[in-house]
């Protein structure tokens, strides 16, 4: 066997651990997950790794490869030729074992968000060009790499103050839907903590689905929050006309 990759994989759990090195023979086109599977099959059958589709669709295999949050199944090893490849679990979430992180906090956040609330019963009639905007957000595979990289959650551990970029995408998906009637603006400002995001765009940089998280979800939502809460002139007009502001053009007043 000719070329070898050197993998340095974190082994451990809540009680601690360290990286261990493994040699893996190079196969053209192999991805990091292939190499991890090789290690599991040959050297460490007890190596903990979560994966499912191996096609960048299920969002299970998130990890940190040489310090960068990435999908293991979408990261080619030849990107790291001549380097030791360090593989660690996502560090924003508690560790379960080896490369497996406990992402359940995200599911708790998801429960807090009002889901799609149509103003009238299906079937809905809408123009494709009107829904294109929210369809970008449907591409999310819930890999939580954006949550992992977001400094608000990662460095400040402010999970009680900010839902994180993935859930800004989710809220944008519902909030900008042509026939949705729920009002998520107060929640975005308060519990959702959209003001915690300082638009530094790391979420967008790591998103394997190339969702424009900041430009198309977070910033437009911040603008809607500003419309409602931080715009003195709109506020005055609202008071003078005694009109409740709605963020949806389809319903005059919302819950």
């Amino acid at each position: 066997m000719s070329e070898q990759y050197v993998l340095s994989i974190f082994r451990g759990d809540q009680n601690g651990g360290e990286e261990q090195e493994y040699q893996v023979p190079a196969i053209p086109g192999m991805v990091v997950l292939d190499a991890v599977h090789y290690v599991q099959a040959h050297d460490a059958p007890d190596l903990g790794v979560r994966w499912n589709c191996k096609a960048a669709h299920c969002g299970s295999c998130s990890a940190e490869i040489n310090g960068m949050p990435k999908l293991m199944c979408k990261t080619r090893l030849d990107e790291y030729q001549g380097q030791v490849v360090h593989i660690q679990p996502m560090r924003t979430f508690p560790i379960v074992k080896d490369l497996v992180a406990d992402v359940s906090w995200n599911y708790e956040v998801a429960k807090k968000i009002a889901t799609f609330t149509p103003v009238n019963a299906a079937p809905f009639r809408m123009q494709q060009w009107d829904v294109d905007r929210v369809q970008e957000f449907h591409h999310c595979i819930e890999c939580f790499l954006c949550q992992d990289v977001c400094h608000v959650l990662r460095d400040h551990d402010a999970k009680d103050q900010y839902f994180g970029p993935r859930f800004m995408v989710k809220m944008a998906e519902f909030e900008m839907h042509p026939v949705d009637g729920a009002d998520r603006i107060p929640q975005l400002k308060n519990e959702g903590g959209i003001g915690m995001c300082n638009v530094t765009k790391c979420c967008t940089e790591v998103c394997p689905q190339h969702i424009h998280i900041t430009d198309n979800a977070i910033i437009p939502l911040k603008e809607r929050v500003a419309d409602r809460y931080y715009d003195p002139i709109r506020n005055l007009i609202r008071r003078l006309t005694k009109k409740e502001e709605s963020s949806s053009s389809t319903v005059p007043s919302k819950a």
Binding site: G67, M126, V206
Partner: protein
């Protein structure tokens, strides 16, 4: 959350094919820092930015002149582009990364000193970005007037290097101003349904088309931001050097 058990941060040895993570913030520090020092020199030590038919963007419109002030004349205008850029969503990324290390780079651990200070999110004052946009548009109108004047020489229409520099500057500033995220919201971004107000007609409405065009330009907002920052810098420097007699304008025809 339990973090103690996590391995220590190993920054990528070298994410292949990409620049090291510190390059972008380092560029920002140098470019921004340089521009701010240059602006201070311009504002504090010069009272005119006019050379024949050329006016530097730092001194336009000549607000100070309208009220008869003759000291720090640039100051009456430069605060507008300054607050517009300061509250710009793109520049927030650049300065929060480069100057306050929140974060310095993606997945780069923030400095230890941040641990003792609670992070409160971004400055709320930035929510007023929409107002600074209107002010910036007013200034932009004057810059276009200056462009027209830059093509009118004592002997009639002409083109000098200076005319072209001011023209390019105005184009880049227009691109920057109209690709703004706040403008994108005002122009239609706050609507969820464009066809609804058009009674469900299937043809794209004008307001949709406008929002869509602005959205396309918005993708390059950062590029517009840097390009126009440098064009303002170059335009001002060009006029300044003309005034100082260091260089001479070249008339193309």
């Amino acid at each position: 959350m339990a973090q103690a058990s996590q391995p220590s941060m190993n920054r990528p040895i070298k994410p292949s094919g990409k620049l090291p993570y510190w390059v972008e913030p380092a560029f920002t520090i140098v470019a921004f820092g340089g521009f701010i020092i240059y602006s201070l020199w311009e504002v504090l030590f010069h009272n005119t930015g006019t050379y024949h038919n050329y006016v530097s963007p730092f001194f336009s419109p000549g607000v100070a002149g309208w009220f008869g002030f003759h000291v720090l004349t640039a100051l009456y205008v430069v605060w507008v582009p300054f607050i517009f850029r300061f509250s710009c969503y793109y520049y927030r990324k650049e300065y929060y990364r480069a100057f306050s290390f929140h974060p310095f780079g993606c997945a780069v651990a923030e400095p230890k000193s941040h641990r003792n200070r609670s992070y409160k999110g971004e400055w709320k004052i930035n929510n007023l970005h929409r107002y600074t946009w209107f002010l910036a548009v007013i200034v932009l109108i004057f810059l276009w007037k200056d462009v027209v004047e830059a093509f009118i020489f004592p002997n009639g229409f002409g083109v000098g290097i200076g005319s072209l520099i001011l023209l390019i500057n105005a184009i880049l500033l227009t691109g920057y101003t109209f690709s703004c995220h706040a403008f994108r919201n005002m122009i239609g971004g706050r609507k969820d349904c464009f066809s609804c107000t058009a009674h469900g007609q299937s043809q794209k409405t004008t307001s949709y088309k406008l929002w869509h065009r602005i959205s396309e330009a918005n993708v390059f907002h950062g590029t517009w931001a840097w390009a126009s920052l440098f064009s303002v810098w170059i335009a001002d420097l060009y006029v300044r050097l003309l005034i100082m007699g260091v260089i001479h304008d070249v008339r193309l025809f």
